[in-house]
């Protein structure tokens, strides 16, 4: 089963963008990743059991593509992250501070934190999505929270 592309894009483009941005830290790259991910979904011959399955596949693909772009080491004509931040319409100063603190984390902690808090995935689901062990996910969540100086306090994992 594959979802209707119009619906898929409308529903998940911002989810993919946020996940890709966690890694690229750059709006233009993240947008490119979003487009390429949807196109990859369109082109794949894989079938999906459910909408959740489609979403997980999209996120995993977007994350991997974003890492791919990041691996290039260098950028051209990119709006730098600090400049981009000044354009974002944060609701409160706290929200802005949390955003900045999270974006300062090492990438591997950032993405796990994002999947846990934004996408509301469990540790097990994150482990499956990133293809790492659950122990690994827990360690990254713990370390990420520590680095955030406990802005996001510990939650029950499942």
């Amino acid at each position: 089963m594959k979802m209707d592309m119009d619906i898929l894009v409308k529903k998940y483009k911002n989810h993919l963008y946020a996940a890709a941005f966690q890694i690229c830290k750059n709006a233009a790259d993240a947008e490119d990743v979003v487009q390429e991910t949807f196109f990859a979904y369109y082109m794949t011959e894989k079938s999906f059991e459910s909408e959740e399955h489609s979403k997980a596949w999209l996120l995993r693909t977007a994350i991997n593509k974003a890492k791919n772009v990041n691996r290039a080491f260098w950028r051209r004509n990119r709006v730098p992250f600090e400049e981009y931040m000044t354009e974002l319409p944060f609701e409160t100063a706290d929200a802005e501070e949390l955003f900045e603190d999270v974006m300062r984390l090492p990438e591997k902690y950032r993405i796990v934190i994002h999947l846990f808090y934004y996408e509301e995935y469990s540790v097990r689901e994150i482990a499956k999505l990133l293809e790492v062990s659950e122990g690994n996910v827990k360690v990254r969540l713990t370390r990420g929270r520590k680095l955030l100086k406990n802005r996001l306090m510990e939650d029950d994992y499942e």
Partner: protein
């Protein structure tokens, strides 16, 4: 507000344009060569791809993600080390004439770090006060060779590569890498890292640490083919490798804190320098001269930015995409251009004062060049002699 709500409130600002629809995406992707990333307004997608996870049946060497400082072993090479000119011969196509210079700016190292079933030997470095090239030999601890059919020698990399001075990441810098097999008879492959625009004055010690995380191979991914997740991780771990960097200053500063006029616009050049290994250009904003890196980058791409040698040869400093490959003993690909632009506010360590925004462009040359052979750097219509 609970944690998830707090987080979502902060990150709900990340949104793409409402105008992004499936029709638009489809048209954009289909208009590009099928599956291939396009170069759009100077955007550059460098070589390197990250493919994660394990394919069923592929043996993966695993280790905990802990810093090497708490595990692993370090050994020092016994016996004579290879001369650095020989180590880098294929990488920089070093001629007889250049050997003397290379020996002056390089040194063999010979330390080995073993962790998570992988042995990484730092064979040698070539460095000056702004650029660094490091060559590693990587092999399995059990001595078995990597299967070149499953893991092509020119497709090795690491998920994350960082340069650190102490515990501080030395960003930004330009970088690139390549892998190849110098000697198919032995079990090792070679992995080469190039870093540019890392200035000696920024760090106090004569060494840096290169952090390599998650060793992987990108077989199954070619330019233009959409990446499939789940392929390539070979060894999971973090290798933190100490590299000597005390450099002889062989760089030549062409300009420092000068204002240039480029087609009617003023640009503050904080520094333009060349060395046998590479070049570096830093453009800064001042109280009077506002900098737009986007504009300047776009301008630079459309105009001449090259190094002219005494023999008339011109080396483009803003070229991209061309790769160099060779066949003897293995294949390697290297991007001709290592080009970065990033506007950043770099604060001085321990000092809260922020410097003005800057844009940096830097890269390593494909071969070692004697500064004495360099005539001038061209930026647009300007020709700046290399004194």
């Amino acid at each position: 507000m609970n944690n998830r709500e707090k987080y979502k409130q902060a990150f709900s600002v990340l949104r793409v344009s409402d105008e992004m629809t499936w029709e638009q995406i489809k048209e954009y992707c289909e208009n590009s060569e099928k599956g291939k990333r396009t170069k759009r307004e100077g955007n550059f997608f460098g070589e390197g791809r990250t493919i994660f996870g394990m394919r069923a049946g592929v043996a993966v060497l695993c280790g905990c993600l802990v810093l090497l400082l708490t595990g692993g072993t370090i050994a020092y090479a016994a016996g004579a080390l290879k001369p650095v000119a020989e180590l880098f011969a294929k990488v920089f196509q070093i001629s007889e004439q250049e050997k003397g210079l290379v020996e002056k700016i390089g040194e063999p190292v010979g330390t080995t770090v073993t962790y998570a079933g992988l042995k990484i030997t730092t064979d040698g470095v070539i460095r000056d006060t702004e650029h660094l090239a490091v060559i590693f030999s990587i092999e399995r601890e059990d001595g078995k060779p990597f299967d070149p059919g499953k893991y092509p020698a020119d497709k090795w990399s690491f998920h994350s590569i960082e340069l650190q001075d102490g515990n501080v990441n030395m960003t930004p810098y330009a970088g690139s890498y390549l892998s190849y097999d110098e000697n198919p008879e032995d079990a090792a492959i070679q992995f080469v890292l190039f870093f540019s625009d890392i200035r000696q004055e920024w760090y106090d010690t004569n060494k840096v640490w290169i952090c390599l995380e998650d060793f992987q191979n990108y077989k199954g991914y070619d330019d233009g083919v959409l990446m499939e997740p789940g392929v390539g991780l070979y060894a999971e771990g973090l290798w933190r490798i100490e590299v000597p960097v005390k450099a002889k200053d062989t760089s030549v500063t062409i300009l420092e804190n000068e204002v240039l006029e480029l087609e009617g616009k003023e640009v503050q050049i904080e520094r333009l320098s060349v060395s046998p290994i590479g070049f570096s250009l830093t453009v800064a904003e001042t109280d009077k001269i506002k900098l737009s890196t986007t504009e300047f980058s776009a301008w630079l791409e459309k105009h001449d930015f090259s190094l002219e040698l005494e023999n008339g040869e011109r080396i483009s400093l803003s070229d991209s995409a061309d790769a160099v490959s060779w066949d003897e003993g293995g294949k390697g690909r290297r991007k001709k251009n290592s080009f970065v632009d990033s506007i950043m506010k770099r604060g001085v360590t321990g000092d809260e004062k922020e410097e003005m925004p800057k844009a940096q462009y830097a890269g390593t040359f494909e071969r070692i060049i004697e500064p004495g052979d360099m005539k001038s750097v061209h930026i647009g219509e300007l020709e700046l002699p290399v004194k």
